[in-house]
Subunit: 341 residues, 2 copies
DNA sequence: TGAATTTATGAAATCGGTTGTAATATAATT
DNA sequence: AATTATATTACAACCGATTTCATAAATTCA
């Protein structure tokens, strides 16, 4: 077993003290230029590698940021993560990522692990069936910055980054109404979290404004996994009269529904106009292209990480202190799947 | 600033030594049952949290596994990661993830960061334009297990997990030939890494076997990003006579090509039969459904992580020692996009 | 030239668990 | 009762970098 080089080895070799070595390697100003050079050279030659644990033990910082995400293999979430990773990496932070798989229990256990790993900050998009946020109190109590994104919670004035889901869903629904749709089905996940709850409200509000009575039978809850597509379409086809509009909470599932609707001989958009959500790549690839809400996931990831890191590096002036909610711009992108006129 | 509870605090409170506290909390057998209970109670009551750094500093283990991935926001890679995360989490390991964005420089810098973070093991899918593997030597030298997956390298007998890309591409091409295709275009990324190089060989071999001369003009290299779809299709349409088969190295891009081909009035599969790769969700959603190679990403992630962890926990008997390459089963899934007969 | 600064370096304590070894107490054996 | 074995517990060194405080040397200023 080859033992590691430590600052003590370098110190002994060069006949200086470990203190000086440490300071030199950290570019402390009170070290003579020549000494510093000597030390750097020796460090390089010996393949010295700073022991993060020893450093962390003193500094109480880890340069690690935790991310708890519902699912890694989702088009939207992986974009967000890509944006986060980019920013974190540029600032010398590492990402520890874990997925809750939409389960409350797993989220609790992940939060605990993150806490024990002493992440410097935590980014969370809440699991589908999370019931309360008590598992995050240790972070607050210890002053570890916590930032929600996408799926946010109204929890002890923790900051959150989202889009205006109400507005987006309102726009989507209004657009369908303007296309002449009278009976619009809305497919979404449970309303336990802000994302879907807000969208449902936006959907309802568009009806209200157009004096169309709201029919709760047209709201379908599902977990939006691929296998459910056929089932949901069957459910839709049983409705009498058939709906003429469909608003689905993500593009993958919208594409899924379109596929099964087409298999049943339904024409899109002539029979049923469809609007998705997220502007995933798939919305531009299926036939017809799907009208959707552009949800800038990558940018959201970047922004969330920037805010968190900024807060860590300038604890006093960080945005997270006085900001409660950051809302990103989103917009309706109209494509063939909804154009009746 | 509320200071943390340490084993010293607990020790003092209970009138025992820190040693005993440490042993009790680690379920060391040489601690009396009653003492252990007392200590656990005190630890819980005080909200004690073990300081990982102090522990790691002694143990020289981090319970962290690094993953370097070309891109986070890719359907295939995020599936792999999901599988990895699942297994790692179940065994109490954390995942540190970083993306190379297909760049050699970034991969080098990520590897260094991983090394400095002292990950216990490293999983890598090599960047598109990686030139050499020298950035991984520190891991080997220090005995940190390294395992490549998907994009593997023939490097100092490091183990790798892949599918048989040669065979898969051979099957895909042969299938197109059997459908009557005479002029088959192959779209792929650079052949710098095994994945695409092997597929190209498989593609060529299918021709050889059917005594069709190989035409290098039919091989198109591109980075497979969405924006390039139109360009590649234009390039294909310029060919005279038009090709009658198309084999693309991932489903997203295949869908992309199909879309632009259709926009130009080409019928799929009548005019051009298409085969993709990976069996991504999108292959089941576009019209026509895409014939593809089922590449079990999630399972590959699970398997890679299982092997790595197994190796870490049983250093002597771990598979990585005597295994050089693990090949997962993959298979051709025939769908409408290629069925000419 | 002597005093006051400035610059550069080092000794030693510290962060909080872990562990080899010694010490003590208790039980078992003859 | 004396001896040996066993079960518990504690002491102190250790992991390696950081940092406070002190000190020596070099420089500046009067």
């Amino acid at each position: 077993m080859n033992k590691e080089t430590t600052i003590y080895d370098i110190a002994k070799d060069l006949g200086v003290s470990p203190t000086t070595v440490s300071r030199a390697l950290n570019n402390h100003p009170a070290v003579n230029e020549n000494t510093r050079k000597k030390i750097f050279d020796a460090a390089n030659k010996s393949g010295y590698q700073s022991n993060v644990f020893a450093a962390n033990l003193r500094n109480k910082r880890t340069k690690k940021i935790g991310v708890i995400v519902p699912r890694l293999n989702s088009s939207f979430q992986s974009s967000v993560l890509a944006g986060m990773e980019k920013v974190a990496n540029d600032s010398g932070f590492n990402l520890i990522i874990s997925q809750s798989l939409e389960s409350y229990e797993k989220e609790v256990s992940n939060a605990l692990t993150m806490f024990n790993s002493r992440v410097d900050g935590l980014l969370v998009s809440i699991a589908g069936d999370s019931e309360n946020m008590d598992h995050f109190t240790p972070f607050l109590r210890k002053g570890i910055p916590l930032l929600f994104y996408d799926r946010i919670a109204d929890y002890s004035n923790t900051a959150g980054i989202t889009i205006d889901n109400f507005q987006a869903a309102y726009n989507a629904t209004k657009h369908l109404i303007e296309q002449g749709c009278k009976k619009i089905v809305h497919v979404l996940r449970s309303t336990k979290n802000n994302v879907y709850a807000d969208r449902l409200r936006g959907y309802k509000y568009a009806f209200l404004e157009n004096e169309i009575p709201f029919n709760p039978d047209l709201v379908i809850f599902t977990d939006l996994i691929e296998e459910k597509g056929e089932e949901i379409v069957k459910q839709i086809l049983k409705m009498n009269p058939l709906p003429d509009g469909l608003f689905v909470s993500n593009d993958s599932f919208a594409a899924n529904c379109i596929r099964h609707l087409k298999l049943e001989g339904i024409r899109i958009p002539e029979d049923i106009a469809v609007v998705g959500f997220n502007n995933e790549a798939i919305s531009r690839l299926v036939e017809p292209n799907i009208t959707t809400i552009n949800y800038p996931g990558y940018e959201m990831g970047e922004l969330a990480m920037k805010n968190l890191i900024n807060h860590l590096e300038n604890p006093s002036e960080g945005m997270l202190h006085n900001t409660n909610k950051i809302t990103l711009r989103s917009e309706l992108i109209i494509r063939a799947s909804s154009k009746k006129k």
